[in-house]
């Protein structure tokens, strides 16, 4: 492994944070889409309670992840990538990092604006970020919804790009983030 790009992989903590947050995001979309179609009732309240608990979990993990990332540089991008590809990859990663903060934060503010405090799995309650305000709620709801569309698009591109690297470029980009996988050893 003299070449630091070929063998460099993400560490266990980075992998765990990546996949755990990714799984939670999938759960978040399914909870939100299911709850959206329901009238205000106990079922909707329950689904949104889970949505909020998972969302705050993502926020806490995002903080851990950012701190981890500041101390641990990721493996470099493959040498063959064009400057445009590098810019797109970095832009997507930056956007995804931003969204794992902004989605929970706008959701938390939405709850505050509607005067429904956020409980974390009924274990403790987060303080409200802003005072109850119908207009603020409507604005925040739009922001939260719009950001979710951005997240859906960028996360899909991120996934497609990883698959493209794996199957088209046949490099290590996907493998080095996969759990339990060994780095490819190439001639």
């Amino acid at each position: 492994m003299t070449n630091d790009t070929a063998g460099a992989r993400y560490g266990a903590a980075a992998k765990f944070l990546h996949w755990f947050i990714a799984a939670l995001i999938v759960v978040q979309f399914s909870l939100a889409w299911t709850a959206d179609d329901l009238p205000l009732g106990a079922r909707k309240l329950g689904l949104l309670a889970w949505h909020k608990s998972f969302g705050m979990t993502i926020l806490m993990l995002a903080i851990v992840r950012l701190l981890w990332r500041l101390g641990h540089a990721p493996p470099p991008l493959p040498a063959g990538m064009s400057p445009l590809e590098r810019t797109l990859a970095r832009g997507a990663h930056l956007t995804l990092y931003g969204l794992i903060f902004l989605m929970p934060l706008t959701g938390w503010m939405m709850s505050s604006a509607k005067n429904y405090a956020v409980s974390w799995f009924k274990l403790f309650t987060f303080p409200n970020l802003i005072a109850p305000n119908e207009t603020a709620f409507a604005v925040l709801r739009n922001v939260h919804d719009s950001l979710s569309v951005v997240l859906l698009i960028v996360a899909s591109l991120h996934l497609l790009a990883a698959l493209k690297h794996h199957f088209w470029n046949r490099d290590d980009v996907l493998r080095r983030m996969l759990p339990f996988s060994k780095p490819a050893r190439r001639p």
Binding site: A42, G46, N115, Y116, A117, S119
Partner: protein, 199 residues
């Protein structure tokens, strides 16, 4: 014979005469009348807190009237009579307020008001305790309250708390019968500024 006995009895009774003022005084004290007050709506607050999806929320009733007859020296004759307009509930969210007014919660169309009336008030270490009956959603149940009473310039301040279980009153039908996402326990708190009122 019988006349003599009557005379002796009269003499004994006469010996007790000096005690009469004391006796009357005691009676007068027991019969002390409470002062009559009404709550000043602009400066009074009646709220309840519940737990929804693990997080507490608080709502106030803007519409209520309290007829209070109270004096710490006349607890036996003291009495609270409070009527609450349930549609005035305000939890700072229109959706939740609408749900609470609806058929499955307060059902204000059929039960527009709640009514609380005390039947006894006693002194406690830290203030007073009242036992009384709350009628809510067509159901009457005993609800004790703890309160303090302070004379204020131009009236008095009455502040206290109570705890109740919403399902004892059938508040929460259908979906809302479950306590998974809305707790059964509800706490009530009030802080009333009282002004003198005709009885």
């Amino acid at each position: 014979m019988s006349a003599q006995r009557t005379a002796r009895r009269a003499a004994r009774l006469a010996a007790l005469l000096p005690l009469l003022p004391l006796l009357l005084g005691a009676r007068a004290h027991a019969d002390a009348s409470p002062v009559h007050y009404a709550s000043d709506p602009a400066r009074s607050r009646l709220e309840f807190s519940g737990v929804q999806a693990g997080a507490a929320f608080t709502a106030v009733f803007h519409g209520f009237s309290a007829a209070i007859a109270f004096s710490p020296d006349a607890l036996a004759a003291s009495r609270f009579d409070v009527t609450i307009t349930l549609a005035s509930v305000d939890s700072k969210d229109k959706d939740r307020d609408g749900t609470m007014r609806g058929a499955d919660v307060f059902d204000v169309a059929h039960y527009p008001t709640a009514h609380y009336v005390t039947h006894s008030i006693t002194r406690t270490a830290s203030g007073f305790a009242a036992s009384g009956a709350l009628t809510l959603h067509g159901t009457t149940r005993e609800v004790p309250i703890q309160f303090t009473f302070q004379s204020r310039a131009g009236g008095a301040e009455l502040a206290g708390t109570a705890k109740l279980k919403r399902l004892d009153f059938g508040v929460g039908q259908g979906d809302w019968k479950s306590t998974d996402w809305v707790a059964n326990e509800v706490s009530v708190a009030f802080d009333l500024q009282l002004v003198p009122a005709p009885p």
